[in-house]
Every structure is written in structure tokens, then in C-alpha cells.
């Protein structure tokens, strides 16, 4: 098994051939076309990701500078050390999880040492705080930089020694954790071999250790399920097959094995299996953020902030963003914050993607996921489950700043469900913007969809299913005047379109033998939400938004 191992000889050979090929390529650009030695490439996109998006989308603008980076740039401007330290400390307090915080903290430390070397308690307090704030991947570096600065200044050497010992202990612990994670798949392999070779005790020990080190290790869960089956313990087989299925990476046959084992323990019935998976998911993968409900302050305005999130169920770094927006949905009532999730086939096919979500991505110029726009101000990047809290803390100030920003329009929305159609009427007035390309958009979303995708997330909130208007393009709004619009979302027609999109995607990937494990085209009438918003299509800024949740009793009619 190779670990970060290349075959050096092959690499060298390849490098040589690259060099020679590179020479050919240079000659290709400098010689006449008739020269036979012209041997180089052209690189052209052959196909886009499957799924035709509706037309009529404006040219995307470059994404704006993220607010944390703006704040960091501002904080670096003062030349007076007092002002600089104060500005950087404010930046660190406002954006504690911004990638620039470690750098800012280091600048604060060196500024203090240079200008006020006698304020040793203050310097050490800052050093200690910097280390506490550093994210895991930067902690080792934070220890080193701080200790080096103290050694160079020849101050606080006793405390620097204390920090050096602490840094060493932290590194040992970190390395041990990483070693456990790296060992886990190998331990799972060994455990599965033990199962096959009739060594159940050894198998159980190895597999449980592997699963404890990495709860998303499908092979470890499968090994334990197989062991349980051999022991005729169907209850535990269900437990471990369920674990494997919830990772989102299990093959279709594993889902079948789960169903079979479940039936054996439930009188040949599958009733309750989804509920079991839901409960287990909530228990095994709790939201990694403690949510405190939002309390509006005196500056709260009538604005409903719109968060538009571009994500993918097969996108690992989307996890932090998805879970953070789950947390925002808990923190804020819908009159405060509306969330719309536009699923994309990035990087893997996502059965919640549709032409309307792809069109919206194109409108914003989204080139990767996760990407999110708060009232039209777009930025990108997420992370793993462990990074959820950092994401949550980082974006929350932006949302709350917008909650205190006056709305630039009034949007009234009414929606009813009858005869299989959601009939929407929206009225926009009180428009304070003079922008020339204002547009009212109306999105139909499902409040929660259940689907265990490859990134392990099972519950997907506010999944956009359709957008109103011709080519899903919304309705023009005249500056200063407003507009009224009516639209009917025909649920059967939308379901058909969603299925057609997924079928077409499979058809395009048929040579790869690709098939969705589950197609999420069915729409549940008791799960619907309508969101309306007014947007300046040039600046992308959202003037105002509003949300209506179609209540079950309305939906049931």
C-alpha cells in the first residue's frame, strides 16, 4: 500500500517526456504551419455538465470581495501602531473564523512586541488567545510563529517554554488522531478478511476500531453487518447496514441487504425503515452547531434576508455550508431569513438538480459549489462537517447586518394550492431603487427532501423545484413603480419536467452506466414553500424577499 508514494523513476521519465513535448509545443507556436514537426494541443470544452438550462440569463459578474477580506484589508491600513492593533483586533472579533485571522493575530503580536515590549502580560495574553483561536490545521504554525517571535525579542522566555511544551503535546495528539484516521481503512480491510476467514472476535475488534476512527467508513460498517449476518443477528445487521447506507456511498446492493434484514426483523414489512434511518442519522450526525434563536435588536428593519445556496449532494466540501444553513433555518424565523437551495450536478450527479437551479447558477456565474449569495452578495467555499461552526460564525454577521438594512421594496405574496397547482400572486411596490433591470422572481421549493447523497447529508431543506415566469426568468419590475404578477405552478407538469431532466442526464451518461440511486422528482404537496424576491439583475442585490409556507391543511385540499 502506498502512502503519498509516487514511483520516482516513472515520474522522472514523465518529466523528461514533458520537457521534450514542451519543446515540440514551443516550435508549434513559432514555426510555419506547414512544418510537419508541429505537434501540440488545442484544448476545447467538449461538453458541459448535462442538463440544458433555460436561456436568457445575463452575463455573470465577477464575485464580490468577501466581507471578511474587505475588513482585513481595511484593518491593515493604519500606520499608527495603536490604531493598527485596534483595527486588527476588531477584525478578529468580527470575523473569528476568517482565513486571515492567524495572520492578523501574528501582526498584532509583532506590533505589540516592537512597540510595547514592557507590556508582557498583554503580549502573553494575546499569544495565548491567538493559539486558542487558530484552527486545527494552523495551530502548529501558530505555536511556532509565536514562540519564535518571543525568542527573537528575548522576552517572556519562561512562558515561551511553557508554550513550546504545550505545542509539542498538541502535535503528538494531532498526529495520533491523524494516524487513527489513516489506519482506519486498512483496519477495516483486515477486519473484513477476518470475517471471511472465520475469526469473528478479531474481526469485530478491528472493524469497531475502524468505524470509531471514521464513522463514514462504509467498508467497516459493511464488515460489521456481514459479521452480524453470520451470527444470525439481524437486529445488528440492520444497524450496520443502516450505518453504511447513511454514509451515502453504499452500492445499491447494500440498500437491498438493509431492506432484506429489516424485513426479517419486521414481519416482512418495510414500514418504519425510513423513520429508523432518519432517527439514526439525527443521532449519529447531530448538527455540529449549537443554535441560539435570533433576538431582533432595535435596528431590525422589515427586510427578509434571502440566502441562495448552490450545493451538491455529492459535494464533500458543501457539507459545512449545507449544515450551517440548516442552523440558520433554526436560528431565524422565515420572516427574517429565507433560504433557497439550488442543487447542482457538481461534482457528482445530484437528483435534486433541475434546469431552473442550473439557470440560477449560470445567472450568478457560479463555477463551483458550495457557493452562496446573501441578498445577492455572492461568495464561495465551504468545508467538512468539522468546519461547520466556523462557517456558521463567519456568515452570521453578514446576515444580521442585512437584517438591519432597510428593504428597498415591498413584496406581498399570496399562494394557494388547489387542483394540483400552486397559484401565486405577488405584488411589488414601494420600489426605492432606480436600477434598470429589476426583476421579481418566484421560487417553488420543498421544505425538506430526504436523500442520502455521497457527502452523507440526509435532509435537504428548501430545495428549489421550479421558478416562475417565461423560461423560469421571473417578471420585469419597473423602477419606482413596481409590478403585479400571477403564476401557476402545475405540480404534475413540474414533476414530469424534473423526471425528464434526470432521465436525460442518465441518457447522456449511459456509456458510463450511470444511474441515479434514487430519482427525486416526486413533489409532496404538503411540503411546499414559495419564496418571492426582487433583484437588481445588474448588481445582483436583493431589494426585498418574502416567504409563504403552504400549510398542510391548505395543501391537503
Amino acid at each position: 500500500m502506498k502512502m503519498k508514494a509516487r514511483i520516482p523513476v516513472l515520474t522522472l521519465l514523465c518529466s523528461t517526456s514533458v520537457l521534450i513535448a514542451g519543446l515540440c509545443a514551443v516550435s508549434a507556436q513559432t514555426q510555419a504551419p506547414a512544418q510537419p514537426a508541429t505537434r501540440t494541443q488545442t484544448q476545447t470544452p467538449a461538453t458541459q455538465p448535462a442538463g440544458a438550462a433555460p436561456k436568457a440569463t445575463p452575463t455573470p459578474n465577477a464575485p464580490p470581495v468577501p466581507p471578511d477580506r474587505k475588513a482585513y484589508l481595511e484593518a491593515l491600513k493604519p500606520t499608527d501602531p495603536q490604531l493598527k492593533v485596534a483595527a486588527l483586533e476588531k477584525y478578529v472579533a468580527d470575523f473569528p473564523d476568517s482565513p486571515g485571522v492567524t495572520s492578523a493575530n501574528q501582526t498584532i503580536l509583532t506590533t505589540m512586541i516592537k512597540n510595547w515590549p514592557d507590556q508582557q502580560d498583554r503580549i502573553f495574553a494575546h499569544a495565548r488567545k491567538s493559539i486558542q483561536m487558530a484552527q486545527d490545521f494552523a495551530k502548529g504554525n501558530a505555536y511556532t510563529s509565536i514562540i519564535n517571535a518571543l525568542i527573537d525579542a528575548n522576552i517572556l522566555l519562561d512562558r515561551a517554554e511553557e508554550l513550546a511544551r504545550e505545542g509539542l503535546a498538541w502535535t503528538d495528539e494531532d498526529l495520533a488522531k491523524r494516524a487513527r484516521q489513516t489506519r482506519a481503512p486498512h483496519l477495516a480491510n483486515l477486519g473484513r478478511l477476518y470475517v471471511r476467514r472465520g475469526k469473528p472476535r478479531e474481526a469485530e475488534k478491528a472493524l469497531k476500531e475502524a468505524l470509531a476512527a471514521n464513522p463514514l467508513l462504509t467498508d467497516a460498517a459493511l464488515g460489521l453487518a456481514e459479521l452480524s449476518e453470520k451470527r444470525k443477528d439481524d437486529k445488528m445487521a440492520v444497524e450496520y447496514y443502516a450505518t453504511a447506507v447513511l454514509t451515502g456511498r453504499a452500492k445499491p446492493e447494500v440498500r437491498e441487504k438493509l431492506r432484506a434484514a429489516y424485513k426479517r426483523t419486521h414481519n416482512d414489512s418495510l414500514d418504519g425503515l425510513d423513520a429508523l434511518l432518519d432517527t439514526k442519522y439525527k443521532k449519529d450526525f447531530p448538527l455540529p452547531v449549537t443554535v441560539e434563536h435570533y433576538t431582533p435588536g432595535p435596528s431590525r428593519t422589515s427586510r427578509t434576508v434571502l440566502a441562495e445556496v448552490f450545493t451538491g449532494s455529492g459535494c464533500p466540501p458543501c457539507v459545512a455550508a449545507d449544515l450551517a444553513f440548516d442552523a440558520y433555518l433554526e436560528r431565524y424565523p422565515r420572516k427574517d431569513v429565507a433560504v433557497l437551495m439550488y442543487h447542482q450536478h457538481i461534482p457528482l450527479p445530484d437528483p435534486m438538480t433541475n434546469p431552473a437551479t442550473q439557470a440560477r447558477a449560470k445567472f450568478y456565474g457560479v463555477t463551483g459549489v458550495p457557493s452562496y449569495a446573501i441578498d445577492g452578495d455572492r461568495t464561495t467555499g465551504g468545508g467538512s462537517r468539522e468546519m461547520t461552526k466556523g462557517f456558521y460564525d463567519r456568515v452570521r454577521p453578514t446576515i444580521e447586518k442585512r437584517l438591519n438594512t432597510a428593504a428597498d421594496a415591498d413584496v406581498k405574496l399570496d399562494a394557494t394550492l388547489s387542483a394540483g397547482a400552486v397559484k401565486v400572486s405577488a405584488k411589488v411596490d414601494g420600489v426605492k431603487s432606480e436600477a434598470k433591470k429589476l426583476r421579481l422572481q418566484i421560487a417553488l421549493a420543498e421544505e425538506t427532501l430526504r436523500y442520502s447523497g455521497e457527502n452523507g447529508i440526509r435532509f435537504h431543506p428548501m430545495v428549489v423545484r421550479a421558478m416562475a415566469g417565461e423560461m423560469a426568468g421571473g417578471f420585469a419590475v419597473e423602477a419606482g413603480k413596481g409590478t403585479s404578477a400571477e403564476w401557476s405552478f402545475d405540480l404534475a407538469a413540474i414533476t414530469k419536467e424534473l423526471k425528464a431532466h434526470l432521465d436525460e442526464f442518465e441518457e447522456k451518461r449511459k456509456e458510463d452506466k450511470f444511474a441515479f440511486s434514487e430519482k427525486k422528482h416526486e413533489i409532496a404537496a404538503n411540503n411546499l414553500v414559495v419564496v418571492a424576491f426582487v433583484q437588481d439583475e445588474d448588481s445582483k442585490q436583493i431589494l426585498q424577499s418574502t416567504v409563504i409556507r403552504l400549510k398542510p391543511e391548505i395543501a391537503a385540499k
Binding site: 514542451g22 494541443q41 484544448q43 476545447t44 486571515g100 490545521f137 466540501p317
Partner: protein, 168 residues
């Protein structure tokens, strides 16, 4: 130095160049660029002859190009290299790929095989015996996807063309 230690050092350095690195990382649209070339096609080749094309991917820092085979299903989409039908060139054997890096990938929670920095694939091609003499374009298609720890980009399919002179 261990790979993980190196990774952490790189990440640490990236923090200190926050001013320039973050937006670049977040907005990167093409962190992997491809070229195709061949030493053997510098001279005309006969119909029915074989030659090798080198497909080189340049991979920007902190991005991964996933290998053509993966140790576990349910992970990233493997890179695929194809020679499309409808041209006087066919694939003539196994594509030679250097050994990838195998490492626990925090994105997926298990080991993946990937390349970083750059990689060259050797693609063996055969000219059809019935190929017409003159200059022809050999088309090689590459399908790949890439992620880093913060963002995933859409899967891409690129067609790379190499001019080949077929002797009379």
C-alpha cells in the same frame, strides 16, 4: 517530512498569504490545464503505425486530479481518457499512468488516489491502416473533476487535438 506535515505547512503558509490566496482559490475556474504532445509525430508516420501521445495535466497548488482508478467506490469521479470513434486513430493498449498519491482524503473520509502539481499520461495510439495520407488530427478526450477542501468544480470533458502527418 510526512505528507500531512507538508500539507499543514502549506496550509499555514496559505494563511499568511491570505491577501492574495483566498479569492484566487475561491474563484479558480481552471485549476487544471491540459496539453497533449508527442515526440514521435515530429516526422510523418505510416498508416497502421503506432505512436504514443503524452497528455500532461498541470495542477495548481491545493487542487487534486483524481487518478484513473480509485481504491473505493463512492468517492471522486476518476479521470477518464478516451479516444473517440470516427477518426483514423484508435487506442492501442493500456494508458500508462504514473503511481498516484494515495492518502486519506478528508473530503471523502477515506483514501483516494490523486495527483498534484503535474502528471503525464502516456496514451498509445494506432493509425488506421486505411488512413488517408496527409495531415490529420488525433483527438483524445479527457474527463475529469476536481475539488479542494473548500470547493468542488463541475466535471469537465475536454477534447485535445494532436496533428499527425500520415505518410503517402
Amino acid at each position: 517530512m510526512s505528507s500531512q506535515l507538508m500539507q499543514r505547512l502549506v496550509r499555514g503558509l496559505c494563511i499568511f498569504v491570505f491577501l492574495s490566496s483566498v479569492p484566487a482559490l475561491a474563484q479558480k475556474e481552471n485549476p487544471i490545464t491540459w496539453t497533449v504532445a508527442s515526440e514521435q509525430t515530429a516526422q510523418p508516420l505510416k498508416a497502421g503505425a503506432t505512436f504514443k501521445a503524452q497528455l500532461t495535466a498541470r495542477i495548481e497548488e491545493r487542487w487534486h486530479l483524481y487518478a484513473m482508478e480509485q481504491p473505493q467506490e463512492g468517492g471522486p469521479r476518476p479521470t477518464r481518457i478516451l479516444v473517440p470513434a470516427g477518426q483514423p486513430f484508435t487506442l492501442d493498449g493500456k494508458i500508462d499512468a504514473p503511481g498516484p498519491i494515495r492518502e486519506n482524503d478528508p473530503n471523502f473520509g477515506f483514501e483516494t488516489d490523486y495527483y498534484e502539481s503535474s502528471v503525464t499520461f502516456e496514451v498509445p495510439l494506432r493509425i488506421a491502416a486505411t488512413a488517408e495520407a496527409g495531415r490529420q488530427k488525433a483527438v483524445v478526450e479527457v474527463r475529469f473533476q476536481t475539488c479542494n477542501q473548500e470547493i468542488c468544480l463541475p466535471p469537465k470533458t475536454l477534447k485535445l487535438e494532436l496533428e499527425v502527418d500520415i505518410a503517402k
